[in-house]
């Protein structure tokens, strides 16, 4: 239920993003999801990848600053108001969300979410019968 996510510190310099994916691709690591949070000077690239520990070591070797953190990934119907209902479950129980990213295809929306209390968030989502994605679904491809 808890998904390991890679966070990579990047300066705002052209070509750095490409370098990360290039390095991972060359090592046969698949990226299932990603997002970039940026300020005017630097950014954090967040990714869910097939082999998080291996990916971290490879990137570190290439002198990137990398951390592994935990996120939750779940599926909502790709319909108006669906995500709002899910998030209400969390806000009703005072779980705050640090960030999330997602994408919809066909009937489903896939969301990765970082919260201050990952375990409690998972419990709440399960209690409301939300469809969670397991690590195995994402890591293997």
């Amino acid at each position: 239920m808890i998904i390991k996510q890679l966070s990579v510190f990047l300066e705002n310099k052209s070509g750095r993003l490409h370098e990360v994916f290039d390095v991972l691709g060359a090592s046969n690591i698949n990226v299932s999801a990603c997002s970039v949070a940026d300020t005017s000077e630097f950014g954090i690239l967040r990714m869910i990848v097939s082999e998080p520990e291996k990916a971290r070591d490879i990137l570190k070797e290439k002198r990137f600053s990398v951390n592994i953190s935990e996120v939750i990934s779940f599926v909502t119907p790709n319909t108006p108001g669906a995500l709002a209902r899910t998030l209400k479950v969390l806000s009703d129980t005072n779980i705050s969300i640090e960030y999330l990213y997602g994408f919809s295809v066909g009937e489903k929306s896939f969301i990765a979410l970082r919260s201050d209390n990952v375990e409690k968030a998972i419990m709440e989502l399960q209690r409301h019968e939300m469809e969670l994605i397991s690590a195995n679904d994402l890591y293997k491809f």
Partner: protein
Amino acid sequence: MNKSIWNPHFETMSREQMREVQSERLRDVVERVYYNVPSYRAKMQAAGIGPEHIQSIDDLSKLPFTTKQDLRDNYPYGLFAVPMSEIIRIHASSGTTGKPTVVGYSRRDIGVWSEVMARTLTGAGAGKEDFIQIAYGYGLFTGGLGLHYGGEKIGASVIPISGGNTKRQLQLMQDFGSTVLACTPSYAAYLAEAIEESGIDRKELKLRIGVFGAEPWTENMRREIEKKLQIRAIDIYGLSEIIGPGVSFECPHQCGLHINEDHFIPEIIDPETLEVLPEGELGELVFTTVTKEGLPIIRYRTRDLTRLNFGTCACGRTLVRMNKCTGRSDDMLIIRGVNLFPSQIESVLLGMDETTPHYLLVVDRVNNLDSLELHVEVEDRFYQDTISDLQKLRMKIQNHVESATGLSVSVKLVEPKTIERSEGKAKRVIDKRPAVWS
């Protein structure tokens, strides 16, 4: 005889004896420069003094100062006091601006240099059983050969690997069993990192002493290097105009650098009024070389800021001690009217757990106002995964620097290992401001 003191006679003599030695040698050198170096004679005549006015070291302050500009004006050999046929070695320091500073040594000068370097290495705790890996540059720079002659004089096994080629440094350090490492402190920090990364087991290394100099470094940096390399890091001081390394050195008590004052008489002056300051006051260090033949130098203004301590050291040496130099008046930046030494920034960063000593200061002038940007590398242990972690880190560094220096600084976080690592003297400052003089 104390084994850890190379020359007990001179290194432990009483103050009266030392004053006598210095006075006698001073009279001699003043005569030599007066009669052999036209530029010195002209300056002394302009000041209305001759050799007869210099009887003891109490008369030292009557003599005019010498500056780097004097060396440039007399480029290359104008200040040499012996015929070129007596010069057996020439070194030069590459000036960042203008012509290099050229220094010449007679055979006796090389002997003096070996002697003061033997005292230095002995003071650091090295002896004939040691293997000294000399990672200072060999060549026109005085670092490599200065250490080399001193190492040979004490009978150690000298490994003249010179600077750079880090991989080879580590290889030989392991294979040859180096016990002493001699290089710049910034290269030592770089090697420490390289050792960590290479996965070499520290137990495989026999390293026990570091002899570091040629650039100012802080106590924090010393502790960092000592911890990482598990050695005792000894500071040595010198400048080519005086002789090169060997002007002063730390003993294992690490409580100031003993000046080889029977060869190089120190004074501390106020850099503004040029008055000699009393013992213990902070000011610019000035040296008079009293035994050198090739290029004797009178009251040379080093631009280094320090203070003197005449108390006897726990090691038994009576040689006057100077504080570790952490700033040069040359390195000093004036930002919005405030004096700033790069070493202050380094102290702040080393004092914070979240940062590494690798930094770069970029000074610029935007709309007639000085701007100060500090580049700091972000390691993964400094943040979790949110922008706010990084913003907090930035603010924290900014606040620490501001409270330590009184200057507002804009911190730029950069990727690991992107700030240039130095294999020689570290480049800590880029000053983009247009020069006001030409």
